[in-house]
């Protein structure tokens, strides 16, 4: 008996060996920096040392107009960025997936592959490519609008404060539409034929089969896509930086939380980097993402009905 117990405790060492590398790397590079960033938001620099300052940084961030205007501007822009993704990217993704999953559609593998291409490109490529295409100097966009008689609609969209953010959001939608399309496509394929055939016997087919049968069944996937979009959008940075630079021009009209954080903690041009204010902004981003994830986990996910086949 004791021999077996000894044998067991000896044998259990391998669990630690299996877990150790992942847990060590994950804890050291992700969890500890995360918490020390949160902690650092409560400190300020005093010469070489850091001194505890309570919520002073947050008082500056929300109370001092020089900071709070930028923060709310970035948050508002970020919200609009997210809204466009939800209203444009996800419906287009669902619609494309619904068409692609139609049984007997020819070339569907080709369409899938081609529509996914923008997603594999880096933000740098996408940002510059669209910047060139929309540029009034090159004139691809105006001459294409001219061809359909809409030349008067052309504006240097990326250079105008009122359009720049929406334009970049749409560029990002263009890039990432492949992801909701693929995930919804997978969800639609996993609906068993029997369910659809049963519905057809009851006279539900075509568009009404989509609205009444398929859409309710893929709602959990749409929920997952929404929260993934939320987290990705609220820590976005690359596209804005590649297209508009760290100053998120024109006049900060495309500034989002990621670019604001970068400018603050890393410094840019004349502005010196401030890791303590940077940590405060990162803590703000953490709060926003946490609120979003909690709303999803406790408010939305529990209410979505899941069906097991």
């Amino acid at each position: 008996m004791s021999d077996q117990a000894l044998n067991r405790t000896k044998k259990r060492w391998h669990i630690a060996v299996f877990l150790a590398p992942a847990v060590i790397v994950y804890t050291a590079i992700m969890i500890i920096p995360l918490f020390s960033t949160l902690k650092q938001s409560l400190y300020i620099a005093d010469g070489q040392n850091q001194v505890f300052a309570g919520i002073d940084n947050f008082r500056t961030l929300f109370g001092n107009p020089a900071w709070s205007d930028q923060f709310w501007n970035a948050l508002k822009n970020n919200g609009w960025f997210f809204l466009i993704h939800m209203l444009v990217q996800n419906p287009i993704g669902v619609a494309l997936a619904a068409i692609l999953s139609h049984p007997g559609l020819r070339f569907s593998a080709f369409y899938r592959t081609a529509i996914f291409i923008p997603t594999i490109l880096s933000f740098v490529i996408v940002g510059f490519a669209w910047k060139l295409i929309l540029s009034p100097i090159w004139g691809i966009a105006p001459s294409m609008l001219d061809a359909v008689g809409l030349k008067s609609l052309f504006e240097p969209w990326l250079g105008k404060e009122e359009y720049a953010l929406t334009t970049l959001a749409l560029v990002s939608v263009w890039q990432f539409v492949g992801i909701p399309m693929m995930l919804i496509y997978a969800a639609l394929l996993s609906i068993p034929d029997e369910v659809l055939e049963a519905a057809e016997c009851d006279g539900i087919k075509g568009m009404s089969a989509f609205w009444k049968i398929k859409l309710p069944l893929i709602l959990p996937s749409i929920g997952i896509i929404s929260i993934l979009t939320f987290v990705a959008n609220f820590n976005a940075f690359d596209l804005i930086y590649a297209a508009q630079g760290a100053l998120a021009g024109p006049d900060y009209s495309t500034d989002i939380l990621g670019t604001f954080l970068y400018r603050t903690f890393f410094g840019f041009q004349l502005q010196l980097g401030d890791p303590y204010m940077g940590s405060a902004i990162a803590t703000g981003m953490f709060g926003v993402i946490l609120i979003g994830v909690c709303i999803y986990l406790f408010g939305i996910q529990t209410r979505l009905r899941r069906y097991q086949f």
Binding site: H102, A186, A282, F286
Partner: protein, 279 residues
């Protein structure tokens, strides 16, 4: 008859929508690629026509090759991506096996702890990551990037792989145990080959964000000799912004390797994303 005709219109409508969207998706890439092979004059005169004998020119590519060290950037990106992916897969599979196979105290808690990183982006901790890398002298090394990407990829890898490891038959593992295989050999020899499709899925999910990342190379490794392809093309284009030939060629050189890899692996990639929905 009527029904057949309606089906036909539906099919045409479906193809029309898909072709339109495919054109929207491919048009910018196409425009960049064709114009990178043209003279400066032709780029502005006929931006939408294919290069012909008159307008063909490689001047942009010559500038890029002379001025930028794209081979080095490409090599850096390759090293970072391949090493990070290997570590994510190896460490992730080991942890997933421990969580899926053994009952031990704190198993669920450990699973939740590792899953935390799926929802919380690693970028939030960048300030402290940079300070840590400065303190340990890892700034401007590829090691810093590899460590960060490994940590970033692990949560989702553990989550996906442990789902798959639970499906591996117990009889097989117990047969191995009776034959006297150690737990390590059971993992490496019996289990790992069976979860290869899931490993491919995880690799695909991690590969694109690592290759395309701009944030961490910009902050942790901006030195000339550690620039990744993404950062390298960003900086190069920023410097040569008025030289349209060079900019278009640099963009094309950044697009082509990814596009080539994608065309080779697109079937696996799409199968990976839609895994579990086989019909």
């Amino acid at each position: 008859m009527n029904k057949a005709r309606r089906n036909w219109t539906n099919t045409i409508a479906a193809h029309a929508v898909l072709i339109t969207y495919t054109l929207i998706a491919l048009f910018p890439v196409f425009v960049i690629l064709i114009n990178s092979f043209k003279t400066r004059k032709a780029i502005f005169r006929q931006p939408l026509s294919l290069p012909d004998a008159d307008s063909f020119s490689l001047i942009g590519y010559q500038t890029v090759i002379k001025q930028g060290d794209f081979l080095l950037y490409f090599q850096n990106s390759m090293i970072v991506t391949v090493v990070s992916l290997t570590l994510v897969l190896l460490f992730g599979a080991m942890a997933a096996f421990a969580l899926a196979e053994y009952r031990f105290k704190g198993n669920t808690l450990m699973g939740l702890y590792l899953a935390l990183g799926i929802m919380i982006p690693i970028r939030i901790g960048t300030v402290a990551i940079l300070q840590m890398m400065v303190a340990s002298g890892l700034v401007n090394t590829l090691t810093a990037l590899i460590l960060v990407y490994t940590a970033q990829g692990l949560p989702l890898a553990v989550f996906i792989l442990s789902e798959f490891m639970r499906q591996v038959s117990d009889d097989l593992k117990n047969a191995g145990r009776i034959d006297g295989l150690s737990e390590y050999r059971i993992f490496f020899v019996l289990v790992l080959p069976l979860v290869r499709p899931a490993m491919a899925t995880v690799a695909v999910f991690n590969m694109i964000p690592i290759w395309n990342d701009l944030w961490f190379p910009l902050i942790l490794a901006p030195a000339e000799e550690t620039k990744t392809l993404t950062l390298g093309s960003q900086v190069f284009i920023g410097q040569f912004v008025t030289d349209w030939n060079a900019v278009l060629s640099a963009l094309s050189m950044a697009i082509l390797p990814v596009l080539l890899l994608y065309i080779i692996f697109s079937r696996q990639l799409i199968r990976g994303i839609t895994a579990g929905a086989v019909k």
